[in-house]
Amino acid sequence: MAKIIIIGGGWSGCAAAVTAKKAGADVTILEKTDLLLGLGNVGGIMRNNGRYTAAEEIKALGAAELIDITDRAARHTNVDFPGHSHATLYDVIKIEPLVRRKLKEMGINLEFEVRAVDVQMNGAGIKSILTADERWIEGDVYIETTGSTGPMGNCLRYGNGCSMCILRCPTFGPRISISQRAGVEDLLGQRGDDSYGAMSGSCKLCKESLSEEYQERLNKDGVVIVAIPPEDINLRKLSIKVCQQYALKEFAENIVLLDTGYAKLMTSYYPLEKLRKIPGFEFARFDDPYSGGRANSIRYLSMAPRNNAMKVSGVTNLLCAGEKSGLFVGHTEAIGTGSLAGHNSVRLFLGMPLLELPRAIALGDIIAYTNEMMNDVDGIKNRYTFSGGNYFARMQKQGLYNIDATAIKKNIEKIGLTDIFRTRLI
């Protein structure tokens, strides 16, 4: 029996667990907090722009479970907001228990409040993982999906300090780079000005703290756009953002609110005093990060070099996915890379050739393209997402963007990969 240990229970870790399980492995997720999904507990945006294509590709490849849950938990579908079309906004308050239940039903072992802190190597492979409570956990193949957010020292050195985000490092302890512990140096994302890291791109207001009019409009339409007073417009803030798909002028000149259960405010942080001057925001307060008036989490300081089958270079039995595997932004990107890593973990165990997705589909192309860009002087300053920025432009140019689910399904069929993630290998 292949024993697959997944470190980190965010979207990519959960996706890896699903496909590794479906391929026939015994799967355990080690999650340092008490919640799965990590930043997925405060995200919520799916299917905007090219993410629609990618979501349908993931389903056609045979890993529909998590995409289906986000669809089922949708508060709004087909929402348009500046630069973005046909978005689905899932309810961030409902999503985690649904995913947790699904994973348990599938027989995936979930270990909460277990923080992986080190590895014991056996040659070039990982023999076991040390947890903060001094247990050694052994597996055959490991998948690192620890993400790249934080911890506090990084948020302080490269940002405005700990913003008390959903990862709750002070409570559960900081993220540790497992690949770095295994002797593989981390790659670091940069900003335009050559400094390191990038700041999470949205904060969340308590919806009930907004005026009744805005609450109603959010509940009805999913989106509210309010002009920012001219003296408070700060275009510079766009350059530090993770989410280049939202680093548009409209997002600096307007408050863009999306209804994800919270009122998702599409800017990294917003000083509370200034925010409360705007009519309808007099009672505004932040729900995530708690210090959203001042800061947000810092990301992309811990990426592992990998190949396009998601295997970490230099370690024989370690794969990676999500932000750990490159400058990706978003849940869909995490689920896509995670699904591939999970499936390949079983192939790696069996000594089979690892699956690389062809560049004829968006998911295959973004994995390969991001890898190329990680080695590029300017590429390392960019972020890659189906939903905007330069990668969405590339998708459109390459003819990879499609919102016809049937056509996407056919496309996957054409390359012979229909339901590949559903195939039991053991």
Binding site: R115, V117, D118, Q120, L130, A132, E134, G150, P151, M152, G153, N154, L156, R157, G161, C162, C169, P170, G173, P174, R175, I176, S177, Q180, R181, D186, L188, L301, S302
Partner: protein, 328 residues
């Protein structure tokens, strides 16, 4: 491969310390002249955050305070017990296993500072009891029949290794094996264990102290006491009797934790005996390193773990098996 190492001072009012300023922090990669977090040994507080918010300086360091001698008790030719007046805050801070102070006769210069385990601390009366074995220059200077005042520098806390195992055992059985002056640091260990609902058995061997001076403290706490020779000075090994007793205790009497309080050779004997008979039983021990500054600066207390890593034992908390277990 080491287990988790912790700094005893992390998160206390004395953290960050001198080591943060010099880029030698035991815990924080950002304060080890690196520029990214690699927080393997997280202890609940971001030390880098503390450092930056303290304007990139260490916190105020420990000061020496004068302490009046309330009582001087001669136990044997080589052991005295001093009851010393301190303030309530210091008494409270010293009321835990592993607590110690640097002590010297008030009239002597700073380099007479000798590390002394706190045997008992009374917050209400603002006093502490220390047992002193008269051995060399520093301790002889404290052994004046008319001594009236000492200087105490503290509080320090790393006089016991494996503290988290002591603090983690509840409603179980524990065995404390003590010898000579090692009886003193075992008293707060027994107190902590008793307060957590454990039943505690203490083995006393008077060793070179020439008396079981801590017996009354253990009795007051409600420990079960056995008097047995623990260590054979000729062979530098545990006596056969104690080996058999420990073996029976862990195998038949469901002892959850064994604490060794004496020499390093004694720790080594007990630690290896446990590893070979009941590796799941927790092991903790007194810290017998030579402390000089207590701040991780001077290097006199350094030792190596079984994998060769050099550690500063005045500040580093770890599983003592890493030092005395003889490798995995």
């Amino acid at each position: 491969m080491q287990q988790v190492l912790n700094c005893i001072d992390a998160g206390t009012e004395y953290c960050p310390c001198f080591l943060a300023e010099t880029g030698e922090c035991l815990m924080c990669s950002q304060l080890q002249r690196k520029t990214f977090c690699d927080c393997r040994n997280w202890n609940g507080v971001c030390i880098y955050q503390e450092y930056i918010s303290n304007r990139s300086q260490k916190k105020e360091h420990r000061k020496a305070l004068p302490g009046r001698i309330l009582k001087r008790e001669v136990i044997s030719d080589s052991v005295i017990i001093l009851k010393i007046q301190v303030n309530k805050t210091l008494a409270r801070e010293l009321s835990q296993p592993g607590a110690y102070v640097f002590l010297k006769n008030i009239k002597d210069p700073n380099y007479f500072d000798a590390p002394m385990s706190i045997m008992s601390a009374d917050e209400r009366e603002a006093s502490v009891d220390v047992a002193i074995q008269i051995k060399g220059v520093k301790t002889r200077a404290l052994d004046e029949f008319n001594i009236t005042e000492v200087s105490l520098r503290g509080p320090y806390w790393n006089g016991v290794l494996g503290l988290k195992y002591i603090k983690g055992v509840q409603e179980q059985k524990a065995l404390l094996v003590t010898r000579g002056i090692g009886q003193a640091p075992a008293v707060p260990v027994a107190k902590k264990l008793i307060l957590a609902g454990n039943s505690v058995e203490v083995i006393l061997d008077q060793g070179r102290a020439g008396a079981n001076f801590a017996e009354k403290y253990f009795r007051e706490l409600g420990c079960e006491i056995k008097i047995k020779p623990v260590f054979d000075l000729k062979t530098l090994t545990l006596t056969d009797e104690i080996k058999e007793y420990i073996r029976q205790s862990v195998l038949e009497n469901s002892i959850k934790l064994v604490y060794s309080s004496g020499s390093d050779k004694m720790h080594e004997g007990i630690c290896r005996l446990l590893l070979s008979t009941a590796p799941d039983v927790f092991f903790a021990c007194s810290n017998g390193a030579s402390f000089c500054c207590g701040e991780g600066v001077c290097g006199s207390c350094h030792t190596r773990t079984t994998d060769g890593t050099r550690i500063k034992t005045c500040k580093t908390q770890l599983n003592p098996v890493e030092i005395f277990g003889g490798g995995r």
